[in-house]
Symmetry: C2
Subunit: 240 residues, 2 copies
Amino acid sequence: MKVLIVEDDPLHRSYLHEAVNAALPECDTVIEAENGTVGEKLARDHKSAHIVMDLQMANRNGIEAARTIWKERPETRILFWSNYSDEAYVRGVSRIVPDGAAYGYVLKSASDERLRLALRSIFIESQCVIDREVRGLQQKSLGQTNGFTDSEYEILVDIALGLTDRAIAKRRNLSLRSVQNRLQQLYDKLDVYQSAGDDHEDGRFNLRARAVTVAFLRKLLNYSALERAEAELQEWLDGK
Amino acid sequence: MKVLIVEDDPLHRSYLHEAVNAALPECDTVIEAENGTVGEKLARDHKSAHIVMDLQMANRNGIEAARTIWKERPETRILFWSNYSDEAYVRGVSRIVPDGAAYGYVLKSASDERLRLALRSIFIESQCVIDREVRGLQQKSLGQTNGFTDSEYEILVDIALGLTDRAIAKRRNLSLRSVQNRLQQLYDKLDVYQSAGDDHEDGRFNLRARAVTVAFLRKLLNYSALERAEAELQEWLDGK
DNA sequence: CGCCGTCTTGCGTAAACCCGCAGCTTGTTG
DNA sequence: CAACAAGCTGCGGGTTTACGCAAGACGGCG
């Protein structure tokens, strides 16, 4: 059994290396990659079916790497090991995991024991292991209550990218007015009004910009999500 | 001699601990804090004059902690030790460093030897040590060419927060038109047009939102900068 | 089938935004 | 002091946003 570790930080990488050795005596080879690009390549070359993957890497982040890896070999088991449980990450991951794939999401703050258990559960038992903190987010996020629909999230990303209403309409095949409807929904859910109105007519916010900020502060968006969205946008622009 | 380490990540913390011991035999005590809040408190209690500080911590980030520490004791020597050299961080740090203070900025990717040298230079020799990569940014950023004026940066932050032109005018004591002038400058420097116009009248961008995105992608803004700016904004709002 | 909720679309309006033009106030320089 | 660059400000107008109102479209459900 081979395990591939994809992780930016040398310290974390060697920690992981040891953790894998300790948790999985049946594992005979551990290989390491220091960014997403190298990770993809090694996964391909070694046909590795067991991967521990950091999110947030400089060169090519974990989500992108995981997506291409899963596209090539959907049965690959990936344990995501991240510092944060930003909703943006959680959403990003659950968007790309193939049906029935075994994967995990463990925070770096987890104990050695928890990491050990996760490694065994996923790689040996093929079970999904989601950190309870992450799990909570997932439920709230994907459920209706207090959560964002895909269409709402979509439009959030679009204004975050800086598209005009018209451009969004074109991209999503909607009428101008529909785009604006969705924006209103979004503003509603993000609570952009209360902070805005507030009696005083001076303290007014630009709803569109404010929505993006609030989303950022709430970790609904983060750098890596923006980066991915920007790449998709460029693709679309080139495609026509 | 005492050294205070303020760092989120346990692995990095113990690595730093060892590095300090190795580099500074004259140091007899090393204390650790796992976030900015605790860091401030320990710095105060121990009157520590030598600090190694991570930027980007969950609870209270390094810049905020450093600011209050320096406010209380400006002669404190701080070595910032960070994963990234985002322009937002660099700008944030140089904004708060007191006149004549000895400080340093070293990337986590630096070699052991470089970290050792930085520790000795700052803590023993009272010299500033800025990673050359960071240094480059600093020059470019604070110089005119290709860099952003304080006023431009200020307005960038304001639109990123989601303020309207009118609100910005009120906050910065400017006329509406002046605000809009600065916005134009900003749009210019951020190159929001070329990506926008592009012949096709469909691919149009919302300049205001696009500017923020571009700034984010260029690391001119990041989460921590936003967070700080938001706090300042709230303060201002409360102040009237 | 009729009723109802959700989603989409068009019309119209008030406000906000982007910006060219031009007059003023500064600080700088020869 | 004249000249000039740089920044602030008001005016005017073309676009874009935000959103109420109301008319369809679609899918469940009794």
